[in-house]
């Protein structure tokens, strides 16, 4: 058993089912920390974490920041705008300069796929991906897994369908890896223009009609439809998208059993999801946000303590 995670968390593709379960199990006690009168434990006291965000983000950045602060780490936020990045500094130079100030971890969000792994291979600090391009958004998928496990008591054997813009979604990619590694059946549903070619090769079921997906699934994870996609010609209009693929109360009422409704946010109410569904009794959308802090605390805690040499020694011991 490899207990530790290694140096970086850049995606779920590289993690074993045991490593994913370790993160989810470790997140469990961290939920309680956020309910304490003093929402703070000293586990990462003295560690310095830089949140390096090259793309706009509200929820993920705040969630990471809460996680860091509740573990007593010192945090610095760097946004691409107004920094040396705008003056043409490369990603590695930015990170090396930060490292020269003796930091311990970098949380990075970047518009290029692979940026987190690229950085992780070039600096000594731990690197955690907060989303890179169209590649992966590992902590989002981990919080989705934790929320599904909380609601259903298990993940294996459940049918989870990702609805919407799978083509541009790093959330979808990380979810597909995580869910299939833990034994769930994964479906995807959305317009042909927003489906990656060869998606079936990842072992997912493809639904062309939302009604079929609803009939099949236990859980719907409704992805955000980025409105820019319409201008780029992927969908004819927002209204037509809602009419054909919108997750509405009328459609859900025809399902054989109540479906758990998830959304990574930010939501476009009346575009990909009906307000009555988003606020309905089976929506776990705000539980996802709560779990996000616990999952990120678990990841930071495990990476901070899991020094690579210890992980390697543990691996040798197990073999």
């Amino acid at each position: 058993m490899t207990a530790a995670l290694g140096k970086d968390l850049v995606g779920l593709e590289r993690l074993s089912p045991d490593q994913i379960r370790l993160i989810l199990d470790t997140a469990e006690p961290f939920k309680e920390v956020s309910e304490r009168p003093i929402k703070k434990v000293p586990a990462l006291r003295g560690k310095t974490i830089v949140n390096l965000f090259f793309e706009a983000s509200t929820r993920t950045r705040i969630s990471f920041e809460f996680a860091e602060k509740r573990l007593s780490a010192d945090t610095v936020n760097v946004a691409a705008s107004g920094s040396a990045v705008q003056k043409g500094e490369t990603l590695v130079d930015t990170a090396r300069n930060l490292e020269a100030m003796r930091i311990d971890m970098v949380v990075i969000r970047h518009p290029s796929s692979g940026a987190a792994a690229f950085l992780g291979d070039r600096i000594r600090s731990n690197v955690v991906s907060a989303g890179d391009g169209k590649h992966e958004h590992p902590t989002q998928a981990l919080l989705d897994l934790l929320t599904i496990r909380d609601k259903h008591g298990k993940i294996a054997g459940l049918k989870v369908c990702l609805v919407g813009d799978v083509l541009h979604s790093r959330v979808a990619r990380s979810n597909i890896w995580g869910l299939s590694k833990l034994g769930a059946e994964v479906g995807v549903c959305g317009p042909d223009t927003l489906m990656p070619r060869g998606i079936e090769e990842l072992g997912v079921c493809r639904f062309r009609r939302i009604e079929e997906a609803i009939e099949w699934a236990d859980v719907l994870n409704v992805l955000r439809l980025q409105l820019e996609r319409m201008e780029m010609g992927f969908i004819p209009s927002v209204r037509e998208y809602y009419r054909v693929f919108g997750v509405t109360l009328e459609r859900l009422e025809k399902a054989p059993r109540p479906l758990t409704i998830m959304h990574p946010g930010p939501m476009n109410r009346g575009v990909e999801i009906d307000s009555r569904v988003a606020d309905g009794p089976h929506s776990v959308i705000l539980d996802q946000v709560t779990n996000g802090v616990a999952v990120r605390m678990a990841v930071l805690y495990l990476l901070a303590g899991g020094r690579p040499e210890l992980a390697d020694a543990a691996k040798r011991g197990a073999e």
Binding site: P29, E32, R36, I38, A43, A304, R307
Partner: protein
């Protein structure tokens, strides 16, 4: 590799007698049950706190509030030992302000666990008093921490350790001195 050598320090009956006596001493220390709260340290301290609480309840006919504390996140050795794979539950029964908290643990050794527990409890409120109750005091303190209630004292040599077994987790009640690898 030599087989581990086990010497029984307390068998089930001796352990039961020790707990009876500890329950009486806790009650005396706290001047009754009015403000008493028992907090067990994960994992075996939680079971022992539960036993002591039940013994007090039998004698006094009142409910004794009890809780559990996992001190993993308050340890000072994350860097050297790495993260503990599974962190146990922390459950504090209500506000600790004005209460007499008795920390219950199985073995007292360096005192570092108790130091962490004191730090953690301080984040849950301001008890009027905190006492320490341990089943086994094995010496070897690295911090100025002493127990108020002790089940038994054991002299432990190099390469030896104390194992506390409880029915709920290990299938039997026993305290052993184990030597060798």
């Amino acid at each position: 590799m030599s087989r581990p050598d086990r010497t029984i320090i307390l068998d089930a009956r001796a352990l039961s007698r020790a707990l009876q006596r500890m329950a009486v001493e806790v009650l005396e220390l706290a001047h009754g049950t009015d403000r008493l709260v028992l907090i067990g340290i994960q994992r075996r301290g939680v079971e022992l706190a539960e036993r002591i609480a039940r013994l007090i309840e039998q004698d006094e006919g009142v409910v004794v509030p009890r809780g559990a504390l996992d001190i993993t996140l308050y340890r000072d050795d994350l860097e050297t030992v790495g993260p503990k794979p599974v962190i146990g539950e922390t459950r504090i029964p209500g506000d600790l302000g004005g209460k007499h908290v008795v920390i219950v643990d199985d073995v007292l050794y360096t005192g570092r666990t108790v130091r962490a527990a004191l730090d953690e409890l301080a984040d849950f409120g301001r008890p009027e008093r905190i006492s320490l109750c341990v089943l086994v005091d094995r010496g070897g303190r690295e911090l100025p921490i002493q127990p108020d209630v002790v089940g038994t004292k054991v002299k432990v040599g190099d390469g030896e350790r104390v194992d506390v077994l409880v029915e709920e987790l290990d299938g039997r009640d026993e305290v052993d001195l184990v030597s060798g690898k």
